[in-house]
């Protein structure tokens, strides 16, 4: 089994926070080619069940705080990539909301797959709004592996 710092497993850390702004929503939508008026048009959005503009549900991905928080110091591989994510959306985010992210390493495991040995570092990030309510939970798998130069 690969060497890593087991003491970080399951220990939640505050990663940082960000504020959802109109400008951030506008830029995020522009990047995605998103034209949905629920996110962009206050008049339209106020006529929906939300009563006003909300942010697209995955806007928190722009603030994914990678590289912060506990590091299990995985002693393997010269490359890493995002293998997958499981996202649970719990509450809408609105302009003006302040979202705080809390992260923990939940698992480190090794697997031998099609491209040889890989080490998976699974992190859970919990995004909480200013009212103390969770808005999203994300489990992401970062894959460490050796690639030929």
């Amino acid at each position: 089994m690969v060497d890593y710092d087991e003491s970080v497993i399951g220990v939640e850390h505050r990663l940082g926070s960000f504020t959802v702004t109109d400008a951030a929503i506008d830029a995020y939508c522009e990047a995605l080619g998103e034209t949905n008026p629920l996110y962009l048009d206050e008049d339209f959005a106020s006529g929906t069940g939300y009563g006003g503009r909300i942010a697209p549900p995955l806007i928190f991905t722009t603030a994914n705080f990678r590289g912060t928080g506990a590091d299990p110091q995985v002693d393997f591989g010269n490359a890493r990539f995002l293998g997958g994510e499981r996202i649970e959306v719990l509450e809408p985010m609105r302009p003006g909301d302040t979202i705080t992210a809390y992260g923990q390493v939940t698992e480190v495991y090794e697997k031998t797959g099609r491209s040889g040995k890989m080490v998976f570092v699974v992190r859970r990030t919990r995004y909480e709004n200013q009212n103390g309510r969770d808005v999203a939970l994300v489990d992401s798998s970062m894959v460490h592996r050796e690639i030929e130069a």
């Binding site: 990047a31 959005a45 069940g49 697209p56 991905t61 994510e85 499981r86 690639i147």
Partner: protein, 153 residues
């Protein structure tokens, strides 16, 4: 027909086997715009230039800079939420990355209804979701669960 997000989809409208799709070109300036939101939050890790710099990407063995995986998740989410309409709600998205999405890739954003069930009055629709590039590869594949309202009587 382009999905705009304004039309409400109802649970009874979703049938197993239904397909819908949109397109997206991963133009470098759009990736830059996405990264600019991130830079405002000072977080997305692009230290090695994989998302923005041709030389940095090549040093990592990539043909061109790549689209951040989390941006690809956002792109496929756009399709799902625009299809669902204002009262639809994305509950989960579970996706794997099989290959990188490269700057300039012309993507088909695809979703297919694979299950629909009514759970205590809540219409829950499961979708398979994919990004497919012009080379016929599917860099992202996964599933999404969406709640849709019942059509008012």
């Amino acid at each position: 027909m382009s999905l705009t997000g304004t039309e409400q989809r109802y649970f009874g409208d979703a049938e197993l086997g239904d397909e819908f799709e949109e397109s997206y070109v991963a133009r470098p300036e759009l990736v830059e715009t996405y990264l600019s939101v991130s830079r405002g939050n000072a977080q997305l890790d692009d230290e090695d230039g994989r998302f923005s710099d041709a030389a940095g990407a090549q040093a990592l063995g990539l043909e061109r800079p790549i689209v951040p995986g989390v941006m690809s998740l956002s792109i496929i989410t756009r399709l799902v939420t625009d299809w669902a309409g204002p009262a639809g709600r994305l509950r989960t998205l579970d996706a794997n990355f099989r290959r990188p999405v490269l700057h300039g890739d012309r993507l088909r954003l695809m979703a297919l209804v694979t299950d629909a069930s009514d759970e205590s009055g809540i219409g829950r629709v499961t979708l398979d979701v994919y990004l497919e590039n012009e080379r016929g590869e599917r860099p992202l594949q996964g599933t999404a669960v969406v709640e849709l309202p019942h059509r008012p009587r």
